[in-house]
Symmetry: C3
């Protein structure tokens, strides 16, 4: 829908593997618009959890760029998604981030759509009007143990093959028995890719995240190695596999799909991602105890989760404009946990609140420097391998090869 930006080929040619990406990828409005169409509209995006929409008509929105998607529980108990655009003259239909609807009535002219997206008969539309042609545009939905993923593009490969491999590893966490404890948004004046790159490496954790670094071993590969063995034994006792799944990069079924899971050690004394190491909430799922570990999980190339023994933290980096991104963080706990009794919201959210504030600051300064006409991409460190993988993913997504998607599916 959006043309290929004229500067794109030169930018791609300018990129050298092993270095950061050139400036224009982070500063050009045309590149940003193209990113929305080629990356965001064609990939699976984490939209929420089934517990947020338990009853028929319950809905949440997922907004990014200029797009808005309605995710709704239908009358048969299924989850459906629709583009939040009236087929008449284009108004947004749902204007609140979440709610409950009997039907979707457009606030402008009251065109009314069923939860399934079908248009009811149009008022004053004349005798030849065929409502069946004007239903809401459907968006694909994939459910995984309660987590909801959506994708606008009909041709994007299915997530299920990767999820099938992931499922046994996540089963003990009881992801289907979670509830949202808190959501927060950290707007950062930077391109979405700088926010993603920030998430994908822990080279910055030592310098930039004092609180995180006290408890999480990822900042120091050597220390971590020593802690991995003891963790495996404790994990087994708690009911967790220590098996790693890495369906990313060349191992991904397709560039659009893939999954990742790895349990890694917290420092001794830490049961979870809390200020003092003490538990924050009831154990998740079927876990029998705290193993002193945390799980990094990725589903598709744009959705990340950090699973502690007693809570899950989900991350999204939603583009708003070429240099405006919302870091969205969602904290989830066991569905039966009750705020005040079983967990304290401020304690639960402390670590990733302060860490996200740090990230906002360093991503903002990263963009400021990249905006200089003198910026030249520098070399990635040994701890930034996933950043390089992200560049590969990104460049394939925006690349010119018309046979690309076919090959990806083939």
């Amino acid at each position: 829908m959006t043309g290929r930006p004229p500067e794109l080929d030169a930018l791609i040619a300018e990129y050298h593997p092993g270095l950061a990406m050139p400036r224009g990828f982070y500063t050009s409005q045309a590149i940003y618009d193209h990113d929305i169409v080629r990356v965001w509209n064609r990939n699976w995006l984490w939209a929420g959890h089934e517990s947020q929409i338990p009853e028929a008509g319950d809905y949440v929105l997922l907004d990014y760029g200029s797009e808005s998607i309605i995710i709704v529980r239908d009358r048969d108990g299924g989850v459906r998604a629709h583009l939040n655009i009236c087929r008449h003259r284009g108004s947004r239909i749902c204007t609140e981030a979440e709610g409950t609807a009997r039907v979707f009535a457009c606030p402008y002219h009251a065109w009314t759509f069923e939860l399934t997206g079908e248009l009811r008969a149009g008022r004053a539309m004349g005798p030849d009007f065929d409502p069946s042609r004007w239903g809401l545009f459907p968006v694909r939905v994939t459910l995984f143990q309660g987590l909801i993923f959506v994708c606008c593009d009909a041709d994007t490969p299915a997530l299920e093959p990767a999820l099938a491999q992931l499922a046994p590893l996540t089963a003990p966490y009881g992801l289907d028995r979670l509830k949202v404890a808190h959501k927060a948004s950290y707007p950062v004046p930077a391109n979405w890719k700088l926010a993603v790159e920030n998430y994908l490496e822990c080279y910055h954790c030592g310098p930039a995240h004092q609180e995180y670094s006290r408890s999480h071993s990822l900042k120091s590969p050597k220390e971590m190695a020593e802690l991995v063995g003891p963790l495996a034994a404790r994990a087994a006792a708690a009911g967790l596999s220590s098996e790693m799944l890495d369906l990313t990069g060349a191992a991904a079924p397709t560039p659009f799909t893939g999954a990742y899971l790895r349990r890694y050690p917290l420092y001794p004394g830490y049961d979870t991602g809390s200020r003092d190491g003490a538990p924050l909430a009831p154990l998740l799922g079927d876990l029998k105890g705290y193993d002193g570990g945390a799980t990094d999980m990725g589903i598709g190339p744009l959705n990340w989760f950090l699973v502690y023994s007693d809570h899950l933290v989900g991350y999204r980096f939603l583009p708003r404009d070429v240099q405006q991104t919302d870091i969205e963080v969602v904290w989830m706990v066991h569905a039966d946990a009750e705020e005040g009794r079983d967990y304290d919201r401020e304690a639960l959210t402390w670590l990733w609140h302060v860490t996200s504030q740090d990230d906002e600051r360093i991503i903002r300064h990263n963009q400021a420097g990249v905006n200089s006409a003198y910026f030249q991409p520098g070399p990635l460190s040994e701890m930034e391998g996933w950043v390089g993988d992200f560049y590969n993913f990104y460049l394939r997504m925006i690349g010119p090869d018309p046979e690309f998607r076919k090959a990806a599916n083939g």
Copy 2:
């Protein structure tokens, strides 16, 4: 002055009569800039009422896009208009929305212009300087029963032929004996065309305007038909013709000119557009009583008025940026009416204040949906005929035909 946007021809080709217009007309900065030059700078715009500038030197500004026009009472009692640009280095000359000036002295270097726009001798401009070459750029003025219209373009056809047909129908209202009771501005983050389209149809009145719909029959064509007969008799008794004038669309003298007037019924119990139906102010002009009707009036393709028996409401939808528009509403009453004694400002403005707030909201959500890359124009209803007429007008204005304006004048 602004080149033809490269995307324009493709967008025009994309348009299908009977459907809404494609997305690019509402999202492109280049199209917006072109709109200002081709639509706004070439059409007659309502700039105010003579009662606002009773004395020599009294002036008001009309600002839209990046343009600013001074409308001033000259020393001969006439109304003149000038571009609000100093001919020296381009400063705005009048920087307040209204005021009184003995002469127009530029606040930058004090170049001083007569109310007629002529430059007085320039300070330190050397012996060869000819002040007569550097007067303010003139803007055309047309007066109609006290209402002031201005047009920047020398080639735009005159309004007078259409106004001559309108004049006998509006005579009873005494439009020349009005005064401004209140002005309000409702900024909406949307393209100006979406604001105009909103004004031009009442398909949305039922769903979106609860207060308006209690009193005004326009939302329901069938109910209205039953009320029209009784209204005609009451109107005649009050001193009003029930004749309709429709010089719009194909009936307009030229695409730039035209006029429209129709008296339509309020619901029983409503004398005027008030909360409870009761009168709001002294009867206008020569009216002998309340007939329970309201008059829709259009002058040129961009200026609209709603005339009740006791007040007039004028509307402008002034572009500020590609997705920023000011809905400006002006309430006028009989020139002799005195606030506090003859009318209550809050009661007078209640209906169109709440209605304009509703409109701001729905126009904003309309733009949000149209911004989606997935938006596809849908079919207009039977109640959106004027929206289609507006598309025709707009497309002729921006169209490529170099012979267009000649033909329009011919």
Copy 3:
């Protein structure tokens, strides 16, 4: 780094000497981006005073457009400048406007640079990493009697030849013995060139600067002529030469360099730029008394100073966006002066605070008028000669001639 804007040649052709410059120079984002690269990145910019960074590691930043430069005192007592961009992934390194650093540690991944810009060994960069390749980009520094000037471009001619001629004239002021008393920033929604043009002429001083005009003769060339003779005698008594230096326009060594100095009279009763004419601070340098004059000084084409007998005011007009500029004003006094005892900050800054507020207003209105599609450049007055010189400078800087810089150096 930025391509030549396609509209540039037409705009240059549209310019007529003796008139203001065409609209597009002040409204186009592409022209603005090109200005940063061709004008700002290639010229000498005033970055501060040595007294701001007395100790090793003390630094100040100079930010303009999307660029940021660190000016730092090194361990050998010299002044160095670096681009404020980490060579790893581009983060800003210093994030405060001034401070003291032992080394420059990037806040993102802790790449650490010496005050000289050299990178220390990189953490986790692998065995083949060569830190010597990844030092901070150097920026050139020229010092003049304590004033610090920086330039990003290696090919820009040196300032020293012009400064050598200026030095004897400024010697009595003791510019090396100053300290900053106050700094203020006046953001104005206008292109940087309109702010510069405003500074370069006093045709507007009478109409727009009531306070300034009470004390400074520049607004009235005839009055000034009568005052110049008496000033010369008083200046000599105070220890000042009345010699004028004009290395601007055709007299400049190169378009990038040059200098200007002229002592001109205040009105009788004014010792300095104060409200009541009374002194504001201890006499500068070796001055023996007040002569009732003020010195206009320019160093390079973009840096201006006003030197009274007891304080100096420095001006910068820093571009932030196509229509956003910061007017930055710095007040300096004798290094030994103590606030409260020797000067009152509010009294010291009064004149150029109110004058800068006036300038903000008139520059803003200038931009508003220039934004009109109807703006046409008007003729410059006899008092705007330097504005015409600025146009010449600007057009040479952005011009197409590939031989230009060579010729400028030759």
